[in-house]
């Protein structure tokens, strides 16, 4: 009896419980709205053209860019930062890739062949490289000049869209090169290829943080940057590389997004993505005050947001309500994280560890 109780108590305290519960609740709403495993059901997973398809697969595929950006954002928030330029970085990366690949139809020996301007691998590398440069710029401002993160990244957020439009000359650049589309809408072993990209990035991150001291360093810098520095940690270098990594994540997300819509739009690609990413990270249980973070939580947070969007569309509520729902979710999550609120409402917890 006590064993079972302790098990429940342990589960209740596990950081991933609340995000998972939220996700389950939203999924249940969908299941009630469209019950069953039939073609109309929410849980339906069929096989079409050799790959899995269904609402769940669709949600996972569409959530892929958000998951990537959230992973980068998680680490940035963990070191007490914030990166509001990710949307602009997505636009830049998409613009670079689309401009370099372009693609033209050439008739070769009577068969139509699509040719890209530069080899695709090179274009993808250039796009991610550009994104990494953006991240380094943010990192240099935050770590090098000790600028406030929100303002340092605000600069790139404003200027980045301009740069993206400069690259695409203010046009929406359409890509005509089928191999590029594989990234965002292709399937591998029956699952969307973008999910493998996310899995790869997540695996790399988990290995890096679990098997090295990186996790400890990140948490240490997040909890107290000054103490970490005094303890001999190179907090600046760590912060710099965390922002760079966030840029790279946003760059890969930009590739997936532009590949999915087969074009690059400097003005609208990744619009408001930074807000969704911050929301996903918060939902996942990462503390905005820094230090405590959860990579899995952010992935679940991204899935929550995408499922929420899907739900709002599918149960026939006007899509405009989405913003109001998101606002309420943010308020609710913030209040739950606030110890002052917990003390006030539940009369427990203490104010000693309160974040200011």
């Amino acid at each position: 009896m006590t064993k079972a109780f302790r098990l429940i108590e342990d589960a209740r305290r596990h950081p991933l419980v609340w995000p998972l519960l939220t996700l389950v609740v939203i999924v249940l709403v969908n299941v009630f709205a469209h019950p069953g495993f039939g073609p109309q059901g929410f849980l339906h997973v069929g096989v079409r053209e050799g790959h899995l398809f269904g609402a769940l697969v669709d949600i996972a595929n569409r959530a892929a860019p958000l998951m990537l950006v959230s992973l980068g954002m998680t680490l940035v928030i963990a070191v007490r930062g914030i990166d509001i330029s990710v949307g602009a970085v997505v636009a830049i990366s998409a613009a670079v890739a689309a401009t370099l690949i372009g693609g033209t139809l050439v008739i070769e020996n009577g068969a139509p062949v699509y040719v890209s301007k530069v080899p695709m691998a090179l274009a993808l590398l250039a796009a991610v490289g550009a994104a990494a440069l953006c991240g380094m710029w943010n990192g240099a401002l935050v770590a090098g000049l000790s600028m406030q993160p929100i303002i340092a990244t605000l600069i790139l957020m404003v200027a980045g869209r301009g740069v993206a439009q400069l690259l695409t000359d203010g046009q929406i650049i359409t890509v005509y090169y089928p191999p590029f589309f594989f990234l965002g809408s292709g399937f591998l072993f029956g699952l969307p290829f973008s999910l493998y990209v996310v899995a790869f990035v997540l695996a790399v991150l988990l290995c890096l943080t679990r098997f090295t001291a990186l996790q400890l360093f990140i948490q240490s810098v997040g909890i107290n940057p000054v103490a970490s520095r005094l303890a001999g940690l190179n907090a600046r270098a760590l912060t710099f590389w965390v922002y760079t990594f966030c840029g790279v994540c946003a760059g890969i997300a930009g590739l997936i997004i532009s590949s999915n819509v087969k074009s690059a739009d400097g003005n609208n690609a990744g619009l408001l993505l930074e807000l969704d990413a911050i929301l996903a990270v918060t939902l996942g249980g990462t503390s905005l005050a820094g230090g405590r973070y959860s990579l899995w939580g952010s992935v679940i947070g991204a899935l929550i947001i995408q499922t929420l969007t899907y739900t709002i569309y599918s149960i026939g509520v006007p899509p405009e309500v989405n913003l109001v729902v998101k606002a309420i979710v943010v308020f609710a999550v913030c209040l739950m994280q606030s110890s002052a609120f917990r003390v006030m409402v539940f009369r427990r917890g203490s104010l000693t560890g309160a974040e200011v």
């Binding site: 600069i155 404003v158 200027a159 439009q165 109001v324 913030c334 209040l335 606030s338 006030m344």
Partner: protein, 373 residues
């Protein structure tokens, strides 16, 4: 070598002075290159009156060490509520305008209360406020609602003739009144001094017995009110209500405040600086339009570069100021105060700097504080 205190330029004023000089240079250069008339200068006010009012509210929030990301959507919500009430429900503008102003203030007060009493980050709470206000716009209507009310059209189209051919609009008059009121509030009332004090160091403000809670909630109320007023001005300007109005305005307002020399970590800045910040943003737009050969996205890049330059300038000045305090002046007192400050949670160097300033000059606790505290 040091100049006497009354001859030295206050370091905090340097960004603002640079801004004013930059504006004069840019306008002078523009006049030279594109033959700008005096009306172009007045048009800067006419076209940016709403941004000016928003930026003034934002400056108060930033001075107190916070940030308000909801201003753009509060403007949109204001235009939307005004349009719906006037066009669909045929309310009188004389009822609608005070109502939307009160709603804006209440919205700000609510956010301020949540931020202060639940100890949440201003950034995330106002982000939620931004979503909420924008979403409410769409709930009211997703289309543009044109306003054809006679009073609105009259105010919108009326030109106040100055000398010669020059004219301004009523919006400019409202904006100028707001600027005057803001300067008065910031520098001649206890509320204004409290805002500076909280932004400089919340803990010492609290220890000095200043009403931190009331001031913080009031600051966000003021910002909400300013946004609503900007929304009213925007309604006069556009004569319509639309959920997509003023998108990204929060960033323009923050940029204007930063370019105007308001320290982002709070505690230092001037309303006049913000006004010039808005004028510079407007002038960049105007010059790019006048040039004709530059595309619209250069505006964003130029604003980004300008933001960057001013942020770096701020950092350099902060750094210089702290080095100045630590190196020269009265080292003994600084060190003494630094030892006392060691028990605080801030880094000793910063506390030392702060405390040193307070010892030297009791009114200097409003000095800039590094953001790492």
């Amino acid at each position: 070598m040091k100049l006497p205190a009354n001859l030295r330029i206050n370091l905090q004023r340097v960004p603002m002075i640079v801004t004013v000089l930059l504006f004069v240079l840019m306008f002078g250069g523009g006049t030279f290159a594109y033959d700008l008339s005096a009306q172009v200068f007045l048009n800067l006010f006419i076209d940016n009156a709403f941004l000016m009012v928003t930026a003034i509210g934002m400056t108060f929030v930033i001075l107190s060490g916070g940030i308000d990301l909801s201003v753009g959507s509060v403007i949109a919500l204001t235009t939307m509520i005004s349009a719906v009430l006037i066009e669909h429900h045929h309310w009188s503008p004389l009822v609608v305008i005070p109502l939307v102003l009160a709603l804006g203030a209440a919205f700000g007060a609510l956010m301020g209360a949540v931020i202060h009493y639940f100890r949440l980050q201003a950034f995330i709470v106002t982000l939620a406020g931004m979503f909420l206000a924008r979403g409410l716009c769409y709930l009211l209507s997703i289309d543009t609602i044109t306003i054809s009310d006679p009073l609105y059209t009259l105010i919108s189209q009326h030109r106040i003739e100055l000398w010669g051919e020059l004219f301004i609009s009523w919006n400019v008059v409202i904006a100028l009144v707001v600027i005057g009121a803001a300067v008065f509030i910031a520098h001649y009332t206890s509320f204004g001094r409290n805002v500076y004090a909280i932004g400089g160091n919340e803990r010492s403000a609290l220890l000095m017995g200043l009403p931190v809670a009331r001031t913080r909630v009031l600051v966000y109320t003021l910002s909400g009110f300013c946004s609503a007023l900007a929304g009213v001005i925007f309604t006069f300007y556009m004569l319509s209500g639309y959920g997509l109005h003023a998108q990204g305005m929060e960033l323009d307002a923050i940029a204007a405040a930063v370019i105007g020399g308001t320290l982002l970590s709070g505690g230092a800045g001037y309303m006049v600086g913000t006004v010039f910040g808005v004028l510079i943003l407007g002038l960049i737009q105007t010059l790019i339009t006048f040039d004709g050969s530059l595309s619209a996205w250069w505006t964003k890049i130029a604003i980004g570069i300008l933001l960057c330059v001013f942020c770096v300038l701020q950092r350099v000045i902060e750094h210089h100021a702290s080095a100045d305090k630590r190196g020269g002046g009265k080292p003994d007192k600084s060190r003494l105060a630094g030892d006392k400050g060691g028990v605080s949670r801030s880094s000793p160097a910063i506390v030392g700097k702060m405390a040193g300033k307070i010892v030297e000059n009791p009114s200097a606790f409003i000095a800039p504080q590094s953001n790492q505290a």
